[in-house]
């Protein structure tokens, strides 16, 4: 009961945060940004055309009214239509969410599990050969730009070896797999390094604690000490770091989606940026702010599950 009221209260915080997000978006797009009429109509537009467009877009209204309109879109999810494609933005988001999820969900789960497993392994053999080798490898692999991974992967695995599709997408369960495996693997290659380093240091913080010595004195095996006693204690920082990556993934996959031609939200955002499609960019900004808030709440609730000392207030 306590948890539900906590979640409800945290979700109510969404309101002021969204108002703030809307204010920043409003300042950027309605006050600071160039007049959208010049973007849309080009330099040879007539005064009448410009005035007409201002009326259509609502940019002739006073600023407070424009701000209210921005707020309205955020709370109704009615983002209007795209300037460039004239599609309803909410429809575009619905269409893009599927491909994005088929990419990000497996990618997040696989990276999380692989990084934690490697971190446990190197913590277990801390200071030994494996630890040093993995350190070297991870630093080498995280020093290479993600672009290099994408280009090399597409050229080598998709073009030369023909194991995967170079780019493109097909909806439906087994159909998308040939298109998403390569980006998932390339992302893993790029991100396991820093993740493993972080998880390793969190785990090593726990390995020397007194309760580990107690567990040994009880006769608990080393493997069980690592996976049961140590991992559960290291879970709080691991969750914080891991879960907050989910909304960032959504933004971070901008590049991957556009390189691999996956018609997801990242791809939509990139296109909108290229064409100065303000309503789409606004919609994406609001959505990612929402994602951060929601995953923040999820993290807080998970804390109380892994650590009984944490109480939701």
């Amino acid at each position: 009961m306590n948890m539900y009221s906590y979640i409800l209260r945290r979700l109510l915080y969404v309101i002021p945060v969204l108002l703030g997000v809307c204010f920043i978006i409003f300042i950027i797009f309605n006050v600071v940004a160039p007049d959208p009429a010049y973007v849309l109509l080009g330099r040879h537009a007539t005064i009448e055309q410009i005035n007409q467009l201002h009326k259509e877009l609502g940019t002739d209204l006073p600023f407070w009214n424009q701000y209210l309109n921005t707020v309205k879109t955020a709370f109704t999810f009615d983002f209007g239509s795209s300037w460039s494609s004239k599609q309803q933005i909410s429809e575009m988001i619905k269409a893009g969410a599927g491909p994005s999820l088929t990419l990000t969900v497996p990618l997040f789960i696989i990276t999380f599990i692989v990084s934690i497993s490697i971190a446990l392994l190197v913590s277990f053999y801390r200071g030994g050969f494996i630890d040093k080798f993995v350190l070297l490898l991870s630093i080498a692999m995280m020093s290479i730009s993600s672009l290099a991974y994408i280009l090399f992967g597409q050229w080598f695995f998709a073009y030369k070896l023909g194991w995967f599709e170079i780019a493109g997408y097909e909806p439906g369960f087994p159909n998308f797999i040939p298109y998403t495996v390569l980006p998932v693997l390339l992302y893993l290659a790029f991100s396991w390094g820093p993740d493993t380093r972080f998880y390793r240091s969190m785990i090593l913080d726990e390995v020397y604690q007194d309760y580990v010595r107690t567990a040994r004195a009880k006769g608990v095996g080393e493997l069980s000490i690592m996976f049961k006693h140590v991992l559960k204690n290291a879970m709080v920082p691991i969750l914080t770091y891991g879960i907050i990556q989910i909304p960032m993934l959504f933004l971070g996959l901008l590049l991957a989606e556009s390189f691999f031609g996956i018609p997801g939200l990242g791809n939509i955002t990139i296109k909108a940026l290229n064409t100065s499609d303000f309503p789409v960019i606004k919609a994406m900004t609001i959505l990612s702010a929402l994602a951060f808030i929601v995953f923040g709440v999820i993290t807080d609730v998970l804390y109380t599950i892994v650590d009984p000392r944490m109480k939701l207030k």
Binding site: Q209, D210, Y211, R213, T214, A215, R216, A217, K218, G219, V220, G221, H229, K232, N233, M235, V306, D307, P308, R309
Partner: protein
């Protein structure tokens, strides 16, 4: 000590070495002692004298590297524990030989319930018990160590208990497989004085009920006087004096033992109008990297003579008893009888 008692543990010439950047040190250097069923051995000494390392060596928990048991033997019911395969040693740890630690606040895992932590050790060593039986046993153990309303407490987490209660839980974990030996490494150091007495009382009571041998490691001679049958005084990794508790307190022969006793504040000294200054042992424990030739205690000793400086080599433990019971001390110039403070 007239009745025949069963010897459960024999530590023989134990040497534990640690490799460091500055060289190899012997944290424990030729230690001998026995543990008997139903009896308590006290190991006393200042910080760094090798008490805890000896205990960890018995448990097979010396961090290796940098540490290792370099030589000597640890015989548990006649079986050697040194270099025992890890799997076999795990079956003894927590089962036949259990240990409780100095830090009750941090020794329990904060994210598991105390019931869970007691059940874990039962599950490991008595896999034939069902989950229900394990749960019931966890409650029984909590009741045994005097935790009120144990049925409720099993579901609680360590942070919901006080330090004294946590140490009781540690004792419950240690005793749930009815070990032959309980090693208590400064079990009361971190606790309030009143709680200290309760915990010691509890350990004595449980020893009577379960009949285990206890190795009590402490720097507090008061605790030793209250609970131990025999005492070994350690200094720089060696035992410098050992005897049964009465003999040691009544007639200490090693100047270091006497120094330790004089450092205990007594009520008599504060009762008079003139307050005595509390006596301390002058000087500092020598570094294990740089031990002097001869007796390790020479620079702090009031009775130091020429042969203590190395002309006669190192002092070895000699029997100094006049009547029956053994009383070993490693000193060239031991104290005369009746110089002790007495019990």
């Amino acid at each position: 000590m007239t009745e025949k008692v069963e010897k459960v543990l024999e530590v023989k010439d134990l040497v534990v070495e640690f490799k460091t950047d500055r060289g190899t040190i012997k944290a424990v250097n030729g230690v001998n002692f026995d543990v008997f069923k139903g009896r308590t051995v006290g190991i006393v000494g200042e910080s760094g004298s090798g008490k805890s390392v000896s205990a960890l060596a018995i448990m097979g928990l010396i961090p290796n590297p940098p540490g290792r048991v370099a030589s000597g033997q640890i015989l548990f019911n006649g079986k050697s524990l040194v270099n025992m395969p890890a799997g076999e040693m795990r079956k003894i740890r927590g089962n036949k030989i259990a240990m409780i630690f100095q830090e009750p606040m941090t020794s329990l895992n904060p994210v598991f319930t105390i019931g869970n932590q007691i059940e874990e050790v039962i599950e490991l060593h008595q896999p034939q018990l069902s989950k229900k039986e394990r749960e019931a046993k966890a409650v029984d153990m909590l009741r045994l160590v005097g935790i009120p309303s144990p049925e409720k407490r099993v579901k609680e987490y360590p942070h919901q208990l006080s330090g004294g209660m946590r140490q009781r839980v540690m004792i419950a974990i240690a005793l749930s497989c009815e070990p032959d030996i309980l090693i208590a490494d400064e079990p009361t150091t971190a606790l309030d004085v009143t709680i200290q007495a309760q915990i010691l009382e509890l350990m004595k009571k449980l020893q009577k009920e379960l009949g285990m041998g206890i190795i009590l490691i402490t720097h507090d001679l008061g605790v030793v006087a209250e609970t131990c049958d025999t005492v070994a005084v350690m200094y720089c990794g060696q035992i410098v004096e050992s005897a049964d508790v009465k003999t040691l307190f009544n007639h200490p022969r090693h100047p270091y033992t006497k120094g330790l006793m004089n450092s205990i504040p007594s009520f008599d000294s504060t009762a008079g109008h003139k307050k005595e200054r509390l006596q301390t042992i002058e000087g500092m424990v020598p570094s294990l990297f740089d031990l002097p030739a001869g007796c390790n205690f020479q620079d702090r000793c009031v009775n130091v003579t020429e042969h203590c400086r190395g002309s006669l080599g190192e002092p070895i433990l000699r029997d100094m008893a006049d009547e029956g019971a053994t009383h070993l001390a490693a000193c060239f110039n031991p104290l005369k009888k009746f110089e002790g403070k007495g019990l």
